[in-house]
């Protein structure tokens, strides 16, 4: 039988590890992005949205891997950010698995519901 403390320690390790990996990719991506775009003006004072391919995580992933596409470096940077953003969803999924292993139906259901809301918000 899996104990609550085991789930908690696993979660803690995943959260910390995931954040560190995401931060590393973000830092590398940022340097890489800035190196390719020296001297461009920051344009955040006017809201213009972001490219279409950022709307869907799957499309963005493809774009990040295709070197010749425009926005490739920007997509790579976005990938690091996405890794950071999905950490909480993984956290909830991990908890759900733990509760299923404990045969705790109520909390497996609650975790899965929260996970479903998170997935819905990303792909809706």
């Amino acid at each position: 039988m899996i104990k609550d403390t085991q789930i908690q320690n696993g979660l803690a390790r995943m959260m910390l590890g995931g954040t560190l990996i995401a931060a590393t990719i973000m830092l590398a991506g940022l340097i890489w992005y800035l190196a390719a775009n020296p001297g461009i003006k920051a344009g955040d004072h006017i809201f213009s949205g972001e490219p279409k391919y950022f709307e869907n995580p799957v499309q963005m992933f493809q774009r990040a891997l295709e070197v010749k596409e425009t926005g490739h470096r920007r997509s790579f940077l976005m990938l690091g950010i996405l890794l950071l953003l999905i950490n909480p969803a993984l956290r909830v999924a991990f908890a759900a698995v733990g509760f299923v292993a404990q045969r705790d139906r109520l909390y497996a259901g609650i975790s899965l519901f929260v996970f479903a809301v998170l997935v819905f918000s990303f792909f809706w």
């Binding site: 803690a12 954040t19 920051a42 940077l77 909390y107 929260v114 918000s121």
Partner: protein, 284 residues
């Protein structure tokens, strides 16, 4: 504004330094990075509030993951309470984010300033004493197995959980604010758990940290779809806040927290008023 003449590199260095300072102060004072970083970006750097909210929300997720990990390992946070209440906060966050994308940016600015003032008010309250252990819990809390134990100096202590439904409702509101404004709304979550549900303060803050990231993740997908996340802004801000929060946690035992609190909370109040004025079209 100075930033019109700035290139991306200078701009990124400046905002990561600002984010770093916000991260240090945020973790020393106990306010999340979100409520500070948005006004700094909007008022100080002239960033559109929608991009600022996107960057702030992403940094909230970063710091929440780091802080919550430490608390989980100590066995202080209550996973069942956290996940159960996340049902309310995530649904609320989706509602809030959907509302945010149709509201005008000046309206957002006013609501943001008002929420910031309430947050300052909430953090000025004294931390109440630990809830008493002999209380019986709300029957619904028992049914949901929410009451738990926390480690203390005198060994594990049992605690009860009260008023589940009002707490749940307040959490929904905290979720709406989080999605609407791109903040973690930690202060509101703490009030729900501590004041309404009478959960011990240590458990409350630890559990709230776990919940903040999950709540923020529910609206960040919607922000992403609407183009609120500019990677060239999000990355330096999130990295700065993350590094700042880490340093802040290390400084906590030696820093003059009381003095910093007073200075910082007054500063935040001024910023809040400025956000409201800006939203109303009064610039100075």
């Amino acid at each position: 504004m100075i930033r019109e003449s700035m290139d991306e590199l200078t701009f990124d260095i400046l905002i990561s330094v600002a984010a770093f300072v916000a991260g240090v102060l945020g973790s020393l004072i106990g306010l999340g990075g979100g409520v500070i970083i948005t006004p700094v970006l909007v008022l100080g750097f002239g960033v559109d509030i929608r991009y600022a909210m996107g960057a702030a929300l992403a940094s909230v997720i970063a710091t929440s993951s780091g802080a919550a990990a430490a608390f989980l390992r100590d066995g202080i946070s209550n996973m069942r309470i956290g996940l159960f209440l996340c049902v309310a906060t995530t649904v609320g966050a989706v509602c809030g984010a959907m509302l945010a994308v149709v509201l005008d940016q000046s309206v957002l600015s006013v609501i943001f300033g008002a929420a910031l003032l309430v947050t300052v008010g909430l953090s000025l309250r004294k931390n109440p004493d630990a809830a008493n252990s002999e209380n019986t819990s709300d029957p619904l809390a028992e049914k949901l197995r929410l009451p738990g134990t926390m480690p203390t100096d005198h060994g594990p202590m049992n605690y009860s959980v009260q008023r589940v439904i009002p707490g749940f409702a307040m959490m929904w509101v905290a979720g709406v604010l989080s999605g609407l404004l791109g903040i973690g709304s930690g202060a509101f979550k703490v009030v729900a758990m501590d004041q309404l549900m009478r959960i011990p303060f240590k458990v409350t803050t630890a559990t709230s940290n776990f919940m903040i990231g999950v709540t923020a993740a529910a609206s960040v997908g919607i922000y992403l779809k609407r183009g609120y996340l500019d990677p060239a802004l999000v990355a330096p801000v999130a990295l700065g806040v993350l590094a700042g929060a880490f340093v802040g946690a290390k400084l906590l035992p030696v820093a003059p927290v009381k003095l910093l609190r007073i200075i910082f909370l007054s500063l935040v109040s001024v910023i809040a008023v400025q956000m409201v004025l800006r939203g109303l079209g009064i610039n100075f």
